[in-house]
Symmetry: C2
Subunit: 158 residues, 2 copies
DNA sequence: ACAAGTATCTCGTTCACCGAGACAATACCG
DNA sequence: CGGTATTGTCTCGGTGAACGAGATACTTGT
């Protein structure tokens, strides 16, 4: 067990954080009669809304790795629960854009708000250099997790 | 949109990291014909193995939030794929302990190894104070995500 | 107007997970 | 020791998310 390196403590800690955050989302899902996928969908939709982008059914499905049938079922479910609305795009009437309902946003805020607030509070306790370290580490890990299967296999992509 | 606070950048970054890490695990799962739950199970088993603890079928199911039927199905699947072995506990023969196969560990290492290696490499670039900041932030978030349903919703967990 | 292309939805199937309960082994109690 | 309660796992039947294939609706190019 080559776990001597002190850096491993933080690596395990990061993994523990992702597990806890996953469990936190799962609880939100279960409390509101949703599935993990539905929560992921709402988050993706809110991210897009924040960026000012409209999301079509197809985009949403692609972002979540679902096929068209699964995407339709997902949007049906969310719409039935009143979390999103289907809006036919008037420019291209084949398209259906999916918009989050305000109440779903509020619901999400009421669940994730305290956690986010706590995180912001924690971050306020650090100076610029410390913040840069946190930012740098997270950015590096995100990139490393994204470059995946680039090295391990011989597969040359793109 | 109260997103002015600069701390929010890091909060979104952390969320992006968890998304990427989730996608990374999902890719591992898919490449090896497994489901997300199977990967979570293997990780839980390896964590327990590292801590020197034996894991029974029941423990595993509880850790993953599955009922007994689902747990049996999970262990069946993992055993069929050769990732784990069922071992009857000789002390208490009602119990079935689940042991990870060495090849599953090796498989996991080959997938997650590069990512872990990159994280360790990143961490080596920081001094003690920066490491303490990273550790402190992650620990705080983990705890905040764990204290959940204590304040936020009206719903008192059962 | 017609063919080709694109976006979504419908249909039938598969499989993870659930609830209920069966079965096996142990612990408690006289 | 025998009997009953308890505990841990597995079996059975059912529900629903997601899949593959193909139908349907709209747009674009000629």
């Amino acid at each position: 067990m080559p776990d001597q390196e002190p850096e491993m403590e933080i690596v395990h800690l990061l993994r523990a954080v992702t597990v806890e955050l996953g469990a936190h989302s799962a609880r939100f899902a279960q409390r509101n009669g949703m599935h993990p996928t539905d929560v992921r969908a709402l988050i993706a939709l809110m991210d897009a809304a924040r960026a000012g982008e409209a999301v079509t059914a197809g985009h949403l499905g692609a972002a979540l790795g679902l096929n068209s049938a699964g995407t339709t079922a997902l949007v049906d479910r969310l719409e039935r629960a009143g979390h999103v609305r289907r809006v036919r795009d008037e420019r291209d009437r084949r398209r259906v854009t999916v918009e989050v309902d305000e109440r779903a946003v509020a619901l999400g805020r009421s669940h994730f708000g305290p956690l986010i607030g706590r995180a912001v509070e924690l971050l306020r306790g650090y100076d610029e250099r410390e913040l840069a370290a946190i930012r740098g580490f997270l950015t590096g890990v995100r990139e490393a997790a994204g470059d995946d299967g680039r090295e391990p296999d011989h597969n040359d992509r793109g």
